[in-house]
């Protein structure tokens, strides 16, 4: 019997790559959307983002989704961020600052309590939280709270947490890569991911001057008649 015939005749369960029926917010990056169940960041479950280094793109992957959520009037809470979420950068990425709230929690217990409160509130549509350590039972509570509120929850934890078991439905590990960000999907609903994902850097960090203008064009160099302009932009 041919394999195709068997698959056709007999009821054979096939591990289909991804569940389609998960409510999700598009990440804004097509290669990442293709690898996530539901085609985006899942709602109503915990998502863990594990990284040890900062500044490798851990927020960049979230900003388009946050921009979309806040533009729709949904509210986003940032809990215990390690640095100042810089308003000009967020605004430039399209995030509506009016829908954000930043919560500073001094202790571990306070942070977990605040996360639970935010997830219990129906008005909080997304929560970004930074936890160093969190026990399975505590994460389970947050997962239950997220289920009822159908919020998108991104928990940032150190890479060492990858070896711990977690009730999160989606777990990503981030590493710096030469031309962008390397993303390992450690856990997701559906078939496990085999190959790490490479997300190249946003074009804004092409060699250009820091004002976002493209690098001086060839014409300025070629045309001798063109008056030489100082390339140094000055704010005063």
């Amino acid at each position: 019997m041919e394999l195709a015939e068997i698959l056709q005749r007999q009821p054979v369960w096939r591990g289909s790559p991804l569940l389609a029926a998960v409510p999700a917010v598009s990440t804004g990056f097509a290669p990442l959307d293709a690898e996530l169940p539901g085609g985006g960041w899942p709602s109503g479950v915990l998502t863990e983002i594990l990284a040890d280094e900062e500044g490798i793109g851990e927020l960049r992957i979230l900003l388009p989704a946050l921009a979309r959520l806040t533009a729709a009037g949904r509210r986003v809470a940032w809990l215990a961020p390690p640095h100042v979420p810089y308003a000009p950068a967020l605004a430039a990425a399209g995030v509506d600052l009016c829908q954000l709230a930043v919560v500073r929690a001094p202790g571990r217990r306070d942070a977990l309590w605040a996360a639970e409160q935010a997830l219990r509130a129906a008005s909080c549509s997304a929560l970004l939280a930074w936890f160093r350590d969190a026990r399975y039972a505590e994460l389970r509570r947050l997962a239950l709270a997220a289920e009822t509120s159908r919020a998108f929850v991104a928990l940032f934890r150190p890479l060492a947490a990858a070896s711990e078991s977690s009730p999160a439905a989606l777990r990503l590990a981030l590493h710096a890569a030469p031309e962008g960000l390397e993303l390992h999907i450690l856990k997701r609903r559906g078939a496990p991911a085999r190959v790490p994902l490479r997300l190249p850097w946003n074009p804004i960090v092409r060699p250009a001057d820091a004002l976002g203008r493209p690098a001086p064009a060839a014409s300025a160099r070629g045309n001798a008649r063109e008056p030489r302009r100082l390339d140094l932009p000055v704010h005063a």
Partner: protein
């Protein structure tokens, strides 16, 4: 307390439910109630004071009449007095007694002015025994909160702040000031906030008495459960979340973000109330990092690979916080994208392009 209830009978669906609600409410507040009903204020007053259901059975002691004399002629109650001939009564006792009888019967009007509650609330409660734990304080405070809710409901008002003082046997009272994100009067919500605050408060001494004070009443109309209430309910829910977080973590623990027109990057943003910022046109600036470090960190230029720049920012000469910096986007040896600047030859990391 005299209350005109004829106008409210329809709302309460009858006298019995009204009486039930009244007695229930009074008991919750800790009062004992003696109720009298009548067609006139005076009749109701007499009935309540004497505990008699029938006006005729009210004893004469309540009136300003010479009870001794009337008892000697066999009149002990108001009913007896009303059976006596009017001219004889007018001669034997003061005109006031006759007037009171007329008022009770309803033949003489007795206008009353309605009570106008003050725009401040202040109530105290002595605790029957010294309380040494927060739960006990909360239990007692709930009664005061119910009173506050009643006062506010009567005036269609809400408060944004209230103060609870815990009086100890010795020393100054402990003052707790609780702020709300939006005007409210619901005793449950106020109690919730109070519980969060009391949970964090170490009671140095047992509490003998409580005092609740609130002023600054603002108009707050009852919300009718609306078909279109979703956006408003959502906003209310968010404010309550902010409130709850602040009650436990402190007022400064929750804030919103806003842009500020300022060249120096560390001042180009502000802490505000969540949602308080009005988007306005802001000048176009170069790439900005998603993370800004609280304080710029000195960096070694050797490990940095400069990718873009410089962006010269020179500002702040007027407030003494001079900045003359060249900003670059750089990649560190570990692959992180940094926002660095060079000021007077020294290099610093100011942000991370996360």
């Amino acid at each position: 307390m005299l209350a005109e209830v004829q106008g409210s009978l329809r709302y309460f669906a009858g006298l019995k439910p009204l009486v039930r609600e009244l007695t229930g409410g009074m008991e919750r507040l800790g009062f004992e109630l003696r109720l009298g009903l009548g067609r006139t204020p005076r009749a109701a007053l007499w009935r309540a004071r004497s505990g008699q259901a029938r006006l005729a059975a009210v004893p004469l002691d309540l009136l300003d009449a010479d009870a001794e004399f009337f008892r000697s002629i066999g009149a002990a109650t108001v009913g007896d007095l009303m059976r006596l001939p009017r001219e004889g009564l007018a001669r034997r006792c003061s005109a006031r007694v006759l007037e009171d009888l007329d008022r009770a019967r309803g033949t003489r009007p007795e206008p009353r002015t309605f009570f106008v509650p003050p725009r401040r609330f202040s109530a105290a409660l002595d605790l029957p025994a010294d309380v040494a734990h927060a739960e006990g304080v909360l239990f007692a405070a709930r009664r005061l909160l119910l009173q506050l809710e009643g006062t506010l409901a009567a005036q269609q008002a809400g408060i944004r702040r209230f103060e609870l003082s815990l009086v100890h046997r010795r020393g100054d009272p402990t003052r707790l000031e609780i702020g709300l994100a939006s005007p409210a009067r619901d005793a449950g919500r106020l109690g919730h906030l109070l519980r969060e605050r009391l949970g964090r408060l170490p009671l140095a001494q047992p509490v003998q008495a409580l005092r609740l004070e609130a002023g600054d009443f603002t108009a707050l109309h009852g919300r009718s459960g609306g078909m279109f209430g979703d956006a408003a309910a959502d906003a209310e829910d968010w404010l309550q979340l902010v409130e709850r977080l602040r009650a436990r973590l402190g007022r400064d623990a929750v804030h919103g973000l806003a842009l500020y027109p300022e060249h120096r990057p560390e001042l180009a943003w502000r802490n505000v109330e969540p949602g308080e910022w009005e988007p306005r046109e802001s000048p176009r600036v170069g790439a900005r990092p998603a993370w800004l470090l609280q304080r710029a960190r000195p960096a070694a230029p050797e490990g940095l690979q400069l990718l873009a720049g410089p962006e010269r920012i020179e500002s702040g000469w007027w407030d003494g916080d001079d900045a003359r910096r060249d900003y670059f986007i750089a990649r560190s040896a570990s692959g992180a994208m940094l926002w660095v600047y060079r000021e007077a030859g020294e290099w610093f990391v100011h942000g991370l392009f996360a």
